[in-house]
Symmetry: C2
Subunit: 561 residues, 2 copies
């Protein structure tokens, strides 16, 4: 029996294996099992190919019904369980054929616009019974994504105040509110009986710092390999990920990194989670892009493993160690059900006993804020300069030297034209000089691979880390404002001293955590920028030496003329 | 008594010491002695300053006459000797105050448009009696200036033929005609009883060649020094010129070089006279321009001293050796009265006895012509590339590295902003790296002085030498055509065999001379291009090594962080 479907949305094909479909167009489906969210079929114009499963609804004839009597079952409409596929453009689909794909999630990492939708709330979780979990809950992705830096930085003081309660911020998108830190500071997060997780902040020589991970490790990312599925039509890249303390590799796709990254954002309030390398819609499998993504994933991983808190995260451990499909699914769900996220994560800190004057903390944070702003600016400046230098290396510099090489060749050719005076040795030497400069042009074009690219990778990582800080600093600012407000209310007799003290105490926790994170940032920054500058200078020296050596060899050709 | 003058031509002032004058404007003259061809005075708008003496005529009231009765004496009008100054924009003027200026010539080397007019014909020479020789003859400068390359290259065959005479070319501007070579070949130049000059062409391993100068020498040009006159208002540059075989310096201005150059053009048919470095109207005394002119005069001089014929020229000897004002004038006039110029110069050659088939010579010349054309093209190509590289060094390259340096400095500044974590040593190292790259930017900007400029100087010299060849080759083509024509006429009985044989013999002389000049060009070219390439490569190697060393020193700053 021919399986039919109707297009719910217009889809414009962008690759040759895809076909365009029009809203309301009738389609023939070849196989109702979607792969990576795509179905294969034929449109009304006879074109055959792939289209997104979520853009169509399968038409299932019931007894006595036909295509026009309302038997169309809109995909993804809640409560409509008569359709086998619940689809919406944002829903996720499953496959059973793909290498290392999970039943209950199959995002595609080639779609820049696609946002992995995660729901920390177990409510709404699908019924995974027949291997096809139907995720019908559509969460607002804003909730889990940090806003762009410098957005949402309205101060939260001007909030409504009701009676004796310290007011809550009206701006529900402020990071202070979203992160749950407001709730935590106000004491709305109940202490839990048993907290398995614990992160210690200790006093170091330069102030509060995260206690080191007692089992430090590193992790390599190697050998990006193209994998195919769906009879070779859809492809993806798999990376070999080997943590040093395990020594056994696991294989991960970008989408797995992306899943982990979103878990991190969800859970780790007050920590500057390194951004993943950017997605890229087109040319995903071009060699340069793969290399660049790999280099940046390596840097990202270095920051993950070097972070005392992030490196100990259970979900990260799962990501690094799990090599079994079934275990992967279980661990993934466990991570998604983790309760110690956002506001609750604040409960996991063990802070030093030392007294810190809140005003001092405030000043400390302000200094860091000014530093971070300036560093953000200068990292951006260096990024621009470096990008332009790359462009010059690939374009202008190469072109100039190649032109010089061509001109020398042309001189050499002229010299050969008058045979009695062709002065072969000289002409050869000049021709060789021409080739040398053409070669030097190529060396200029190649050089960014050895130096500037690494600098750009590092700068990109730091742009991400720095862009997190305004929001993180905002948490401390918000907490501090609550302290002042509660103190005033307590002074006016509108609040119990106990409650006010509780707010102050919890604000200290926020301050300690922020300072520990600032401290960690500085320590990494010193290590990274030293390494980055040394690597750059070493490669530059090697480059100029290579050019000099090439020229020296060329010069010798003129020795015995 | 106020001395008055009237402007013959409109003059637009170009420097602040000059004033503009309008045609027919009445002027007041402060001092009727012109300096370097300039008078000082005041125009009708009350502006005071300098204007060209040749643009005005002095108004001398005669008895009973006034300004309107025709007492104006147009300068330079022949036979009008009532005016003290004969002036036309092309006439030359004298001064008695200037350092090393001659009475009967005072050209200015700052006027690009001014053409030194020389008259080889003693007729029309002034009456040097009172130290003010009045050169009234105005020769067409075309006669002595080689045309631009590839002009005037019409073939001369289609000339009118009258009776039994071999026809003369109608195109009087063809180099064949202008140079006198046509007249020489046709036997119109009578052999002279006694010829003091003699240049020998001998058979070398690669064909005819000039016999070497038995007393070879070199000549240094050093120490360009600014000299002033006219109370410091007018300045010029004097060069110390020291020939190796004399060891005693003379001091020469550009205008002396220019005088010599024009004598060379006038005399040396079939020889590719190296062009002088170009004139430049503005910024004459900027350091860069002075340096460039000096470098190019040195190259020019190398070619003069290395040329077996040019280096033996009496006028050149005079230029190199004469340190006495009075002797200078005498030698200068002797050179200007030289009869062995143009057509007569062809009489000075001693040619080998060897028979050369004219057809072979023709082929030899054609090959050289193709070579010279290609070399001309490639020299132009290399000149363009090199000029662009200079521009890049001074602009793009410098800017890129300075930007990189600035960006590093900016990073370093950011790092200093959070004192507990300012990591001074690292910040210093990064700041030092910034300065290093700023410095490397400056090194890029400086580098052309050490390599590309020299290449451009050499290429410019060769552009000049190559641009002479089309005309020189044209001489041989014209002579060869005359041989064929006379042979045909002789065969038809319209010409004596003797006359035909004479034409053939004289054509051989032209062919030998041209081949000797080609041979000389090739030998110089080999020497010069080898030297040019070696010098360039050596400087390039030194440059890349210096950059590498700078970076190595900078890298060491990161060693003990």
């Amino acid at each position: 029996m021919t399986l039919r479907a109707r297009a719910l949305y217009t889809f414009q094909s962008e690759n040759k294996e895809e076909i365009s479909i029009q809203e309301n167009e009738e389609l023939v489906i070849f196989d109702e099992t979607s792969v990576d969210g795509w179905l294969q079929g034929e449109n009304s114009r006879g074109q055959r190919g792939l289209f997104p499963a979520s853009y169509v609804e399968i038409v299932r004839p019931r007894s006595g019904s036909n295509l026009t009597d309302g038997s169309l079952s809109p995909a993804g409409s809640p409560g409509n369980d008569s359709s086998y596929f619940h689809s919406s453009p944002n829903a996720t689909y499953s496959t059973q054929q793909s290498y290392y794909d999970d039943d209950d999630d199959d995002w595609d990492d080639w779609d820049d616009a696609s946002t992995v939708v995660e729901d920390g709330d177990p409510r709404g979780r699908g019924n995974g019974a027949n291997g096809h979990s139907h995720q019908s809950s559509y969460s607002n992705p804003n909730v889990y994504y940090r806003p762009k830096p410098h957005m949402d930085r309205q101060d939260s003081i001007s909030s409504s105040r009701k009676g004796s309660m310290v007011g809550r911020n009206l701006n529900r998108f402020s990071s202070f509110v979203r992160s749950g830190v407001e709730a935590f500071v106000l004491g709305d997060v109940p202490m839990m009986a048993k907290i398995a997780e614990s992160y210690t902040i200790e006093m170091g020589p330069k102030g509060p710092q995260w206690k080191e991970n007692p089992q430090p490790f590193t992790c390599s990312i190697e050998d990006p390999t193209k994998q195919t599925k769906f009879k070779g039509i859809k492809t993806y890249i798999s990376y070999r990920v080997t943590p040093s303390h395990i020594g056994r590799p696991v294989y991960r796709r970008y989408k797995h990194f992306d899943w982990l990254y979103n878990r991190l954002l969800h859970k780790f309030t007050v920590i500057s989670v390194p951004h993943l390398p950017e997605k890229q819609a087109t040319g995903r499998f071009e060699e340069d892009f793969i290399e660049k993504r790999k280099r940046r994933l390596i840097l990202w991983m270095e920051h993950m493993t070097s972070h005392p808190v992030l490196s100990q995260y259970e979900g990260f451990e799962h990501f690094l160690m799990c090599g079994d499909d079934k275990q992967w699914k279980l661990g993934k769900r466990r991570a998604e059900k983790d309760e110690m996220v956002g506001a609750h994560f604040m409960l996991t800190f063990q802070i030093p006993k030392e007294h810190q004057d809140l005003q001092d903390v405030e000043e400390r944070v302000d200094t860091f804020k000014a530093f971070a702003k300036k560093m953000d600016d200068s990292v951006l400046q260096l990024t621009h300069v470096t990008s332009e230098l790359v462009r010059k290396h690939l374009g202008g510099f190469r072109k100039e030297f190649q032109r010089l090489g061509n001109a020398f060749q042309s001189i050499s050719q002229a010299f050969m034209l008058d045979p009695p005076y062709s002065s072969d040795a000289l002409s050869n030497a000049i021709s060789h000089t021409g080739r040398t400069y053409e070669n030097i042009g190529e060396m200029f074009a190649e050089q960014p691979k050895y130096d500037l690219f690494h600098m750009l990778d590092m700068l990109s990582l730091y742009q991400g880390l720095l862009s997190n800080f305004p929001d993180i600093i905002h948490l401390q600012k918000g907490a501090f404002a609550k302290v002042k407000e509660s103190q005033r209310m307590s002074d006016e007799g509108k609040m119990d001293q106990d409650e006010s003290d509780g707010i102050r105490k919890r604000c200290r926790t926020v301050g300690f955590a922020l300072q520990a994170e600032m401290n960690h940032f500085h320590r990494r920054r010193e290590v990274d920028f030293k390494e980055m500058m040394q690597a750059y200078l070493r490669q530059q020296i090697a480059f100029y030496q290579r050019v000099g050596q090439q020229l020296e060899r060329t010069l010798h050709m003129y020795d015995n003329l």
